[in-house]
C-alpha cells in the first residue's frame, strides 16, 4: 500500500481545515500571512495527493490507505476513509484546483481572512466526500462542502445584469434575478433540496441493511430489494444530480457560478459539480445495481439533453461568465452520459471527464476572473483585441477552449472520445450523435468567444487600453492548470490506469463483463 500506515488521506483532508483555523486565529490583519498559510496548507494537500496517487498500487486495486476510527459504535457510525482509482483522481483534482484557486484569488481585498478560511473549510468538505467510506460521515462532509458557498457568494460575489423579460418577468423582478444574493440563495436552496433527497436515500439503505452500519463496504455487500433499489437510485440521482447540474435542475449553476468570486467558481464548477457525479457513480451505481439498470436510460437521455442544451445556451449568452457556466452544464452531460453507458470505455471516460473538465473549467474561471479584474467588464460584445495586451491570458484561454471543444492532445479529447466509444457500445447507441454534436456546438461558441475577446482590433472607444497581462502569483495557477491539461491529454494512461482498476469491479458488480 502506498501509505505505509501514515494517515495520508486524513492529512490531505484536514490540512486545509487546519489552515482555516490558523488563518482565523493567528493571521488577523496580515493579508500576506493569510495567503501564505492558505498556499502552504493546500500545497501540503497537493503534494500528499500526488504522493498517494503515485503510490497507488494498481495491481492490488480496491480501496487503499484505509483508516477506520469508530465514532458512534451504537449506530454504526465511524470515521472511515479510503481511496480507490475514482476517488484518487478526484482528490488530485481537488488539490490542484484549490491550490491554483488560492493563487488566482491572490488580489482579493475585502475580508480576505474570512474568505480564505471559508474556502479552506469548504475544501475540507470536498476532500472528505471523496475519501469517506462511511455514509453518515460522507453526508456530513457533503454539507460542509455545500454550506460555506452561501456566504462566499453572498458576500464576495458580483451581481449580473439580467433584464426581466418574457412571461415570467414579474417573478424575476420579485426574486431579484441577477443579484449575488439571489444567486447564493438559489444555489443553496437547490443543493439543500438535493441533500434532503440524499439523506433520505442513505437512511433508507441504512435501515434496509439492518440499521447496524453506515459503512459503504458493508452496505455494498447487502442485497437490497429491487423495488427499494429503484426508488433509492432515483433519490440519489435527483439528489446528487442537482449538484451535477442535470437538466432541468441546472439553473442554479449559471447564476451561481457567474456571481461567485473567482476561486469559488473554480472550485464549484471544477470540483463540486463532480461531487454530484461522483455521488451518482459511487452511491447510486456502486450500491444499487438493479436500480442502476432501471434508470440508466433516463440518466443517459437527460445527459444528452444536457450536452446539446447546455452548449446552445452557452452560445446564446452575452456575459462571459455565463458562457463558461453553461459550458459546464454541457460538459457535465458528458460525465453523466459516460456513466450511463455502463461500459468500461464510457465509465472511464466519465471519470476522466470529471477530472478534465474540472481542470479546464478551473482554468476558464481563473481567466475570466483575471479578465474581469483588469477590464471590469464581462460583456463579450464590448471586448475585443485583448490578445495584443494580454497574450498570456489569451494563450491560456485558447488552450482551455481547445480542451473544452475536445481537441486532441488535451485532456478534454480523451474524455470525450472514451465517452463516444462507450455510448456506441451501450444499449442506446444513438446517444453518440447528440454527444458528438455537442462538441461541434462547443467549437462554435468557444471560438466565437475567443475571436471576439482576444482577436480582432481593439474597440475604438478607449475604455480598454493598456490592460496588463497576468502577473506573479496568477501565473502559478495558469501554468499549473495548463500543464495538467496537456499532460493528461498526451499521456492519458497515467489517469486511466488507476481509474480502470475501480471501474471494472464496479461494472462487474453491475453484472457487466467489460
Amino acid at each position: 500500500m502506498g501509505c505505509n500506515g501514515i494517515p495520508l488521506l486524513t492529512l490531505i483532508t484536514w490540512a486545509p481545515f487546519l489552515g482555516a483555523v490558523l488563518i482565523m486565529f493567528t493571521a488577523r490583519h496580515h493579508p500576506l500571512a493569510v495567503r501564505l498559510i492558505a498556499a502552504v496548507t493546500t500545497g501540503i494537500s497537493l503534494v500528499l495527493s500526488v504522493v498517494v496517487y503515485l503510490g497507488y498500487d494498481t495491481d492490488a486495486a480496491g480501496f487503499q490507505c484505509y483508516e477506520k476510527i469508530p465514532l458512534v459504535p451504537a449506530l454504526g457510525i465511524s470515521y472511515e476513509v479510503g481511496a480507490d482509482g475514482i476517488s484518487l483522481i478526484l482528490v488530485l483534482l481537488t488539490a490542484i484546483i484549490i491550490f491554483s484557486g488560492v493563487f488566482a484569488s491572490w488580489t482579493i481585498q475585502t475580508r480576505s481572512q474570512e474568505f480564505y478560511a471559508l474556502l479552506l473549510v469548504l475544501v475540507t468538505g470536498v476532500f472528505g466526500v471523496f475519501v469517506s467510506l462511511d455514509l453518515f460521515v460522507f453526508f456530513l462532509f457533503y454539507e460542509l462542502a455545500v454550506l460555506p458557498m452561501y456566504l462566499l457568494i453572498g458576500i464576495w460575489g458580483t451581481s449580473a445584469q439580467i433584464r426581466p423579460r418574457g412571461i415570467f418577468a414579474w417573478a424575476m423582478r420579485e426574486t431579484g434575478v441577477g443579484s449575488k444574493e439571489y444567486a447564493a440563495m438559489k444555489l443553496t436552496l437547490y443543493l439543500l433540496l438535493g441533500s434532503a433527497f440524499i439523506l433520505v436515500g442513505i437512511l433508507a439503505l441504512y435501515m434496509a441493511a439492518g440499521g447496524s452500519s453506515f459503512s459503504f463496504l458493508e452496505l455494498e455487500g447487502a442485497a437490497f430489494d429491487p423495488v427499494l433499489q429503484r426508488w433509492v437510485f432515483l433519490l440519489f440521482y435527483v439528489g446528487f444530480g442537482v449538484l451535477a447540474g442535470i437538466w432541468p435542475l441546472h439553473t442554479w449553476s449559471p447564476d451561481g457560478h457567474a456571481s461567485a468570486p473567482t476561486a469559488v467558481s473554480m472550485l464549484h464548477a471544477g470540483v463540486l459539480m463532480k461531487l454530484g457525479a461522483y455521488g451518482v457513480v459511487r452511491m447510486g451505481m456502486g450500491l444499487l445495481p438493479e436500480g442502476t439498470h432501471d434508470w440508466v436510460p433516463l440518466v443517459g437521455t437527460i445527459a444528452t439533453i444536457n450536452i446539446v442544451y447546455g452548449a446552445l445556451s452557452a452560445m446564446a449568452q452575452t456575459d462571459l461568465k455565463y458562457v463558461i457556466a453553461y459550458s459546464s452544464v454541457s460538459h457535465m452531460g458528458i460525465v453523466m452520459l459516460g456513466a450511463a453507458t455502463l461500459t468500461e470505455a464510457g465509465l472511464n471516460g466519465s471519470v476522466f471527464q470529471m477530472f478534465a473538465h474540472g481542470i479546464m473549467t478551473g482554468l476558464f474561471f481563473a481567466l475570466v476572473g483575471l479578465v474581469y479584474e483588469k477590464a471590469h467588464s464581462r460583456e463579450i460584445s464590448k471586448m475585443g483585441g485583448f490578445g495584443r495586451m494580454m497574450p498570456g491570458i489569451a494563450t491560456a484561454f485558447t488552450l482551455g477552449g481547445l480542451s473544452s471543444l475536445g481537441l486532441p492532445a488535451t485532456a478534454g479529447f480523451v474524455a470525450e472520445f472514451l465517452t463516444f466509444l462507450g455510448a456506441w457500445r451501450s444499449a442506446h447507441a444513438w446517444w453518440l450523435f447528440p454527444a458528438v454534436a455537442g462538441t461541434f456546438l462547443t467549437a462554435i461558441y468557444v471560438l466565437r468567444v475567443v475571436k471576439q475577446i482576444f482577436w480582432g482590433p481593439a474597440p475604438a472607444h478607449g475604455e480598454f487600453h493598456d490592460l496588463p497581462d497576468a502577473r506573479g502569483p496568477e501565473w502559478v495557477a495558469l501554468v499549473l492548470l495548463m500543464f495538467v491539461i496537456v499532460l493528461f491529454g498526451m499521456v492519458p494512461a497515467i489517469a486511466i490506469g488507476p481509474i480502470d482498476t475501480a471501474t471494472v469491479p464496479l461494472l462487474t458488480r453491475l453484472g457487466i463483463r467489460p
Binding site: I162, R165, G166, I167, F168, A169, A171, M172, E174, T175, V177, K186, P248, T251, D255, L312, S313, M315, A316, Q317, E344, A345, N348, G385, G387, R388, L402, L407, P408, A409, F413, F417, L418, F420, L421, W424, R425, L432, F433, V436, A437, T439, F440, L441, A443, I444, Y445, L447, R448, K451, F454, W455, G456, P457, P492, A493, I496, G497, D500, P514
Partner: protein, 607 residues
C-alpha cells in the same frame, strides 16, 4: 544503417522538441530569428531523417506501437508509427516543403516583431510535428489526433495576424468548416471500432483482406470517414474555407493550404484504401464529388482578382483531381498527383509570395510587367504554372495524365469529361494570371525587384525539383499508369488551347475579356457570388445555430428558470399574504384557539 522506426521517430520528435522548447522558454521564443533558426534546424533534421528513411526503405511495413489508452483486456488504443512506401513518400514531401517554407519565411516575415516571429515559428514546429505524426499514424485514432492538430495549426496560422478582422474570421471559419467534416470522421471511427474492435490500420487491412470485417454498415462508416476528408481537403460542399484561409501569411498558404494539410484528406483515403475498396458505392461518390469539385473550383478561379485566391481555387480544383482518381480506383495516380502538386503548388504560392512581398498587394490588376523587374520569380512562377497546366515534360503533365487515364479506365465518363474541361480552364486561368502579372500592360507601384536569397533559394529548389521529377519521369517512364494513348494528347491539346486562349485574351487583347463575361453572363455572375454557398452557410450559421441557440437561451432563462422564479415569487407573495393573519392582537389568536378546539371536538365525533 539506422533502423527505420528510429528514423521515423526522429523525424517526428525533432519538430516536437523544437515546439516544446519554444513553448516553455519564452525568452527563446521572443528572440524571433533564433527561434526560427531552431525550428528550421529541427525541420531540416526531419527532412534528413525522412530522406534516409525513404532511400533505405525496408520491404515490409515497419510498425512501432505503445499503449495509449489502457483497458482491462489490453490497450484500447495505441500510438505509434507505421512506415511504408506511401508514408515515406508523403513524409519526404511534408518535411521538404516545411523546411523550404520555413526558410522562405525568414525573408518573407522580416518586418514582423521578434515575439510575433517566434510565435510563428513555434506554430510551424507544431505543424511539422503534427503533419509528420499524421503521415506516420498507425491507427485511426492517432490519425484523428494529428488530423485535429494540423487543423489547429491551420487555425492559428490563418489567424497569425489576429488584429485583422478578416483573418480572425477566416481562421474561425476554417476551423468550423473542417470541424463539421471531422464530426463525420470521428463518428466513423467510433462506428468502425464498434464493428471491428480496433483502430489499427494493419489489423483492419488484414480483416479486410481476410473478409472478416463485418460488412454491415461499412458503407456508412466509410462515407463518414470520407466526410473528414471532404472537410480537410476542401471538397464540395465544404471547400468554402480554403479561399478565405488565404488571409494567413503566404508561406503558410503554401505549406498548409496547398502542399500538405489540405492533401491530408487525399492521404487519408489512400492510407485506408483497402477499406474503401470494400465499399464501391462510396468510391463512386468520391469520384463524382472530386470531379465536380475540380470543375466548380476552376470556374471560380476564373473570376478572382486576388492572386492567392486564384491559387487557392486551383488547389481546390487539383484536390478534386486527386479525389476523383482515388474514387475511380486509380489510387496510385491520385497519390502521385498529390506529390507533384505539393511541389509545384508550393512553388506557385511562394512565387506569388515573392510578388506580393515586392509590390505589397494581392490584386493582379495592380501588377504588370513584373517579368522584367523580377526575372527569377517570373521564371520559377512560369515553371510552376506550366506544371499545373500539365505541359510535357514537367511533373504535372505525368500525374494529371495518370489521373485522367485512371478516371477513364474506371469507366466514369461524365467525371472524365468534367476533368477534361477543367484541364482547359486550369490552363486558361493560370495563364491569365501569368500574362497579367508578368507581361501585362499594367504597371505596379514602386520599384519591385527580386526577393532576397533566403527566399529565392527555396523557389529555385522547388522549380528544379518540379522540372527534374518531370524529366526523370519522361526519361525513365512513369510509375505504371498505362493510359490509353490518346489521353496525353487530349490533355496536352486542351492545356495548350487554354494557354492560347489566355494569351489571346489577356496579352494580345484579340478577344475581349468583357465579351467573354457577356457571353457567359449567368455563369460569371454565379461564380462571382461563389455559387451562393457562403451565403447559404452564413444563413445556416445565423439562422440555425444562432437562432436556435437564442431560442434555447431564451427558454432556459425565461421558461426553465422562469418556472423556478415563479415558484419562488409565489412563495414570497403568498408568504406576504399569509403574514397578514398575524394581526398581533392576542384576542384574534384566541379566536383561533377556540376554533381549533371546536375542530378537535368535531373531529373526535366523526373519527
Amino acid at each position: 544503417m539506422i533502423n527505420a522506426g528510429t528514423l521515423a521517430l526522429a523525424a517526428l520528435g525533432l519538430p516536437f522538441g523544437s515546439f516544446v522548447l519554444l513553448a516553455v522558454i519564452p525568452p527563446l521564443r521572443r528572440a524571433g530569428r533564433a527561434a526560427g533558426a531552431l525550428s528550421i534546424a529541427a525541420t531540416g533534421g526531419s527532412l534528413l531523417a525522412s530522406l534516409i528513411l525513404w532511400r533505405g526503405l525496408p520491404g515490409q511495413p515497419v510498425e512501432l506501437q505503445w499503449s495509449w489508452l489502457p483497458a482491462e483486456s489490453g490497450p484500447m488504443a495505441s500510438v505509434g508509427v507505421l512506415v511504408d512506401p506511401l508514408a515515406a513518400k508523403m513524409l519526404v514531401l511534408v518535411a521538404l516543403v516545411s523546411f523550404l517554407v520555413q526558410l522562405y519565411s525568414l525573408g518573407y516575415l522580416e518586418q514582423e516583431t521578434a515575439p510575433a516571429l517566434g510565435r510563428y515559428f513555434a506554430y510551424h514546429s507544431l505543424f511539422a510535428f503534427s503533419m509528420i505524426g499524421l503521415v506516420l499514424a498507425s491507427n485511426f485514432l492517432q490519425m484523428f489526433i494529428f488530423w485535429e492538430l494540423v487543423g489547429l495549426c491551420s487555425y492559428l496560422l490563418i489567424g497569425f495576424w489576429y488584429d485583422k478582422p478578416e483573418a480572425a474570421r477566416a481562421a474561425v471559419k476554417a476551423f468550423w468548416v473542417t470541424k463539421a467534416g471531422d464530426l463525420g470522421f470521428i463518428i466513423g471511427i467510433v462506428l468502425l471500432w464498434g464493428q471491428a474492435g480496433t483502430f489499427n490500420f494493419i489489423e483492419l487491412f488484414a480483416m479486410a483482406s481476410g473478409k472478416t470485417l463485418p460488412a454491415a454498415g461499412l458503407g456508412l462508416i466509410m462515407f463518414l470517414i470520407y466526410l473528414g476528408a471532404v472537410g480537410k481537403s476542401a471538397q464540395f460542399p465544404l471547400h468554402v474555407w480554403l479561399p478565405d484561409a488565404m488571409e494567413g501569411p503566404t508561406p503558410v498558404s503554401a505549406l498548409i493550404h496547398a502542399a500538405t494539410m489540405v492533401a491530408a484528406g487525399v492521404y487519408l483515403v489512400s492510407r485506408v484504401y483497402p477499406l474503401f475498396l470494400l465499399t464501391p458505392d462510396v468510391l463512386a461518390l468520391i469520384a463524382w464529388v472530386g470531379a465536380f469539385t475540380a470543375l466548380l473550383a476552376a470556374t471560380l478561379g476564373l473570376v478572382q482578382a486576388d492572386i492567392k485566391r486564384v491559387l487557392a481555387y486551383s488547389t481546390v480544383s487539383q484536390l478534386g483531381y486527386m479525389m476523383a482518381a482515388l474514387g475511380a480506383g486509380a489510387a496510385a495516380a491520385g497519390f502521385f498527383h498529390l506529390l507533384t502538386h505539393g511541389l509545384f503548388k508550393a512553388l506557385l504560392f511562394l512565387g506569388a509570395g515573392a510578388v506580393i512581398h515586392a509590390v505589397g498587394t494581392n490584386d493582379i490588376w495592380q501588377m504588370g510587367r513584373l517579368g522584367r523587374a523580377m526575372p527569377q520569380t517570373a521564371i520559377v512562377f512560369l515553371v510552376g504554372t506550366l506544371a499545373l497546366a500539365g505541359i510535357w515534360p514537367l511533373a504535372g503533365f505525368f500525374s494529371k495524365d495518370a489521373v485522367l487515364a485512371g478516371v477513364w479506365e474506371g469507366g466514369l465518363t461524365v467525371p472524365f469529361l468534367m476533368l477534361a474541361v477543367t484541364v482547359f480552364l486550369t490552363a486558361f486561368y493560370m495563364f491569365r494570371v501569368v500574362f497579367v502579372v508578368f507581361f501585362g500592360s499594367g504597371h505596379a507601384e514602386g520599384h519591385p525587384h527580386d526577393a532576397p536569397l533566403v527566399m529565392t533559394v527555396p523557389l529555385w529548389i522547388l522549380a528544379i525539383l518540379t522540372v527534374g521529377a518531370g524529366i526523370r519521369l519522361a526519361v525513365g517512364g512513369d510509375e505504371g499508369a498505362h493510359s490509353p494513348g490518346w489521353v496525353p494528347w487530349l490533355s496536352s491539346a486542351l492545356a495548350v488551347a487554354g494557354i492560347a486562349g489566355a494569351w489571346l485574351t489577356y496579352q494580345r487583347g484579340t478577344v475581349s475579356a468583357d465579351a467573354l463575361v457577356r457571353a457567359f453572363r449567368p455563369l460569371y455572375f454565379a461564380a462571382v457570388k461563389k455559387f451562393w454557398l457562403d451565403d447559404l452557410y452564413g444563413a445556416i450559421y445565423r439562422g440555425v445555430f444562432l437562432g436556435v441557440s437564442w431560442g434555447v437561451g431564451w427558454v432556459d432563462r425565461y421558461l426553465v428558470d422562469g418556472v423556478v422564479n415563479l415558484a419562488s415569487a409565489w412563495t414570497l407573495r403568498w408568504g406576504d399574504r399569509l403574514r397578514q393573519i398575524q394581526t398581533g392582537r392576542a384576542q384574534d389568536y384566541l379566536y383561533g384557539v377556540a376554533l381549533g378546539l371546536l375542530l378537535v371536538i368535531v373531529w373526535s365525533y366523526w373519527r
